[in-house]
């Protein structure tokens, strides 16, 4: 039968494009013939802002990139700045950073899996995920007063030491989470409909995934054992025992399973870090001396470098953010502001693989594949 092709604009206002992504779909009935993501609806000129703000002023802007998991963004930029200026970080601060980042990885995967399942029509998971996320956010609130945009990690350390009662609450969270993950697995993992929807959908081979520049759980779901925490260990990851979660099926189900496994691994890391955390200084700066280990924020704050001039030079520093490789390329010309800040965001690179994945599939498969790519639009449009 001779039928017309239909152009559908999915987004920028659509329930399952998570923000303002727009897909231009050329459809033959229910089959996708061509898929073009249209970006830029959330462009805020963050990279340009980086040139306008001082190094410290720019840290809050990094929170707004991937707002689901802001802590690694903070860290990635701060790490670049520290490498640029050659700042030593005390061990306790590194431990605190790793706690916040791994906690954020759990939060990110909860949101990711929750929204994936909601798009597939099972609204329960997102509520469960947000229930646990709330506990994590309360931990963050204890830590730095903010729930989503933290501005917590500073060059040379963190803004404040962990408050009293934080570690017991964190332990509680870990214990609770371990049980909850079992619940999720019971609810979802072997659900026949879920497997029907996810298996062999959105397949991307390891070679293609590497060529597209995919990183993070999406790459590991294609069977590539690549995790910057292992490949290029930063912070204290060299001393932490954990395994990289890899699945070989290359499909949406594999990417989902990688996330579930990673959450378990995060809890394992958190347990280790909490157990071995040293009592020591939280912030250091060669110019301003060593801050006291504990104390009210007002006692710690003066030790941060307010005006900060790293030597001229350039650095590309990258970390394994929950969504993949997050890199900051910072060029310094020896003034108080960076000459150039380039952000290599995982969401953007992962998103580029979508068109190749979904041709020949149906709209529901696009939703499933897109959900497992785990994109935050703040991170795509910088």
């Amino acid at each position: 039968m001779e039928t017309d092709e239909l152009i559908i604009n999915m987004g920028p206002v659509h329930p399952s494009t998570h923000g303002v992504l727009r897909f231009k779909l050329r459809m033959d009935g229910e089959i996708i013939k061509e898929c073009t993501p249209v970006l830029g609806y959330l462009h805020r000129g963050t990279e340009k802002l980086g040139e306008m703000k001082t190094y410290l002023q720019f840290i809050p802007y990094t929170d707004r990139l991937d707002y689901i998991s802001a802590m690694p963004n903070n860290y990635a930029f701060v790490k670049a700045v520290e490498e640029l200026a050659g700042i030593e970080v005390p061990l306790r601060a590194e431990y605190i950073r790793v706690i916040t980042m791994e906690l954020n990885r759990v939060v990110n995967h909860l949101v990711s899996i929750g929204s994936l399942l909601m798009d597939l029509g099972a609204a329960t998971m997102i509520m469960w995920g947000f229930r646990e996320r709330e506990n994590a956010l309360q931990l963050y609130e204890m830590l730095c007063g903010a729930r989503m945009t933290f501005n917590y990690i500073k060059p040379g350390g963190v803004r404040e030491d962990i408050p009293e009662g934080f570690i017991p609450k964190l332990n509680e969270f870990i214990k609770d989470m371990e049980k909850r993950i079992e619940d999720y697995e019971q609810l979802i993992n072997t659900n026949e409909i879920f497997m029907m929807r996810m298996k062999n959908i959105g397949v991307i081979s390891a070679e293609d995934a590497i060529n597209y520049g995919m990183t993070g759980p999406t790459l590991r779901g294609s069977g590539v054992n690549y995790d910057l925490r292992k490949v290029e260990p930063y912070s204290i990851y060299r001393d932490i025992d954990f395994k990289v979660c890899v699945r070989r099926e290359c499909d949406s189900y594999a990417r989902y399973m990688v996330r579930i496994d990673e959450m378990k691994e995060c809890l394992y890391i958190l347990r280790q870090v909490v157990d071995t955390m040293p009592e020591a200084k939280i912030v250091s700066n060669p110019k301003y001396g060593i801050a006291p280990m504990t104390g009210a924020p007002s006692a710690v704050m003066p030790y941060f470098p307010r005006i900060f001039t790293p030597p001229a030079g350039e650095v590309y520093s990258r970390i394994e953010a929950p969504k993949g490789e997050l890199g900051f390329y910072v060029v310094s010309d020896g003034t108080t502001k960076p000459y150039r800040v380039k952000i290599r965001s995982p969401s953007f690179c992962n998103l580029t693989a979508i068109p190749g994945m979904v041709v020949g599939l149906k709209i529901p498969d696009l939703i499933a594949a897109f959900g497992t790519i785990d994109v935050v639009l703040g991170d795509v449009d910088r």
Binding site: L6, I8, H14, P15, S16, E30, L117, M118, D119, L120, G121, A122, A123, T124, M127, W128, R131, L187, N191, I193, F194, M196, R197, K362, I363, P364, D365, I367
Partner: protein, 366 residues
């Protein structure tokens, strides 16, 4: 023996000694039929109010069940435990602007919600809510129900087409494909029951399930027709368009499916029809497979009341199952749904029918 609701009303009026005088008055005027019409209108009004109240309750119940599964409270503010939430929703929806898109087909766009809503009410006519609580015991009751339910795909297609929106149209096409492919296993599973009872009348079907084996196990058709029951239940959920088969409005894909463009009371009509349909289908499942209104007879309480209570308990159990299912499983894909319908459920339903036919002819099942 009181056969239907009309006779029940007459019986009650006679009990209070009002029927005779009333009849005399109308007979003196030579207009006996007016009294009949009034009684029928009362019947319809009671049914209408009952269904609407049930629908309102169901929207509240759905939220509460969802909330329970998702460890939330659900509506709590309006009224005790949020019971008045449906009223507030109604007020809100009436207050909404009634938008008709500029390029929509105005007449069809307006007509479609009514065509959806009216069959949803008409389905209740041959459905026995309890002993003698039935508007009309049609001899083709089951056929009537299946036929009336088949009207709604037409209305959905009209709504989708008239909206002049791509998502609406795709939702409507899906809904129609789904409805057609699931009405067949639904009807086939129901025919197996008809073979057992030898009657299409819903009352006969209920009466056939009245007995008990060994005086303990009720003779419900679910025990004789387990496969038929499962097929009928799945097909009904698919026909209702609830998760896991809710393509017509799969929000993450098609925004809201065929009622994307509807707002205000027109939207409310679709919504009401959906829940009325849920109640009706659950009632039909109960009638066909779970013994309808049958249950232990209690002394001193009129059987009409106990049977209504039994019917409602069973129906709400089925409704609760549908709601529970909705919160637990994701949605299947449209092609998977059609595969399931045509390649698995239709052959299984035919097999079920064949085996039942053999056993009935052989006299094993009667």
């Amino acid at each position: 023996m009181i056969a239907n609701a009309y006779e029940l009303i007459v019986y009650i009026l006679t009990l209070f000694r009002v029927y005779e005088p009333l009849l005399n008055v109308f007979q003196a005027l030579g207009a006996e039929y007016v009294l009949r019409i009034i009684i029928v209108l009362v019947e319809i009004a009671v049914l209408f109010v009952f269904v609407l109240l049930t629908v309102m309750f169901l929207t509240w119940m759905e939220r509460k069940v969802v909330a329970m599964v998702q460890s939330r409270y659900g509506p709590m503010v309006t009224g005790p435990r949020g019971l008045l939430q449906p009223v507030m929703d109604g007020v809100k929806l009436i207050g909404k602007e009634d938008i008709i898109p500029a390029k929509a087909d105005r007449w069809i766009f307006t007509l479609a919600p009514f065509i959806v809503f009216i069959p949803a009410l008409l389905v209740f006519i041959p459905l026995p809510f309890g002993e003698s609580l039935i508007i009309s015991d049609l001899r083709v009751g089951l056929l009537y129900i299946i036929a009336i339910s088949a009207i709604s795909p037409i209305a959905i297609l009209l709504a989708g087409w008239a909206s002049n929106n791509k998502y609406s149209l795709m939702g409507a096409m899906r809904a129609v494909a789904q409805d057609i492919s699931y009405t067949i296993p639904l009807a086939l599973a129901a025919i197996a029951v008809v073979l057992l009872t030898g009657s299409l009348s819903m009352v006969d079907i209920v009466n056939a399930q009245g007995g008990a084996w060994f005086g303990v196990i009720p003779q419900w058709f679910i025990f004789i027709q387990p496969l038929g029951f499962i097929l009928f239940l799945i097909a009904s959920i698919a026909e209702m368009g609830r998760i896991p088969f809710d393509f017509q409005e799969s929000e993450s894909e098609l925004v809201a499916g065929f009622f994307t463009e509807y707002s205000g009371m027109k939207f409310a009509m679709f919504f009401l029809a959906e829940y009325a349909h849920l109640f009706a289908v659950s009632g039909i499942v109960v009638t066909l497979f779970l013994g309808g209104w049958t249950g232990p007879v209690l002394p001193f309480i009129p059987v009409q009341i106990t049977s209504l209570v039994y019917f409602l308990i069973k129906t709400y159990a089925v409704i609760f199952f549908a709601m529970w299912l909705r919160d637990t499983v994701p949605r299947v894909r449209i092609d998977q749904l059609l595969n399931l319908g045509w390649k698995i459920m239709v052959p299984l339903a035919l097999l079920n029918l064949l085996v039942t036919g053999f056993l009935v002819t052989a006299g094993v099942m009667v």
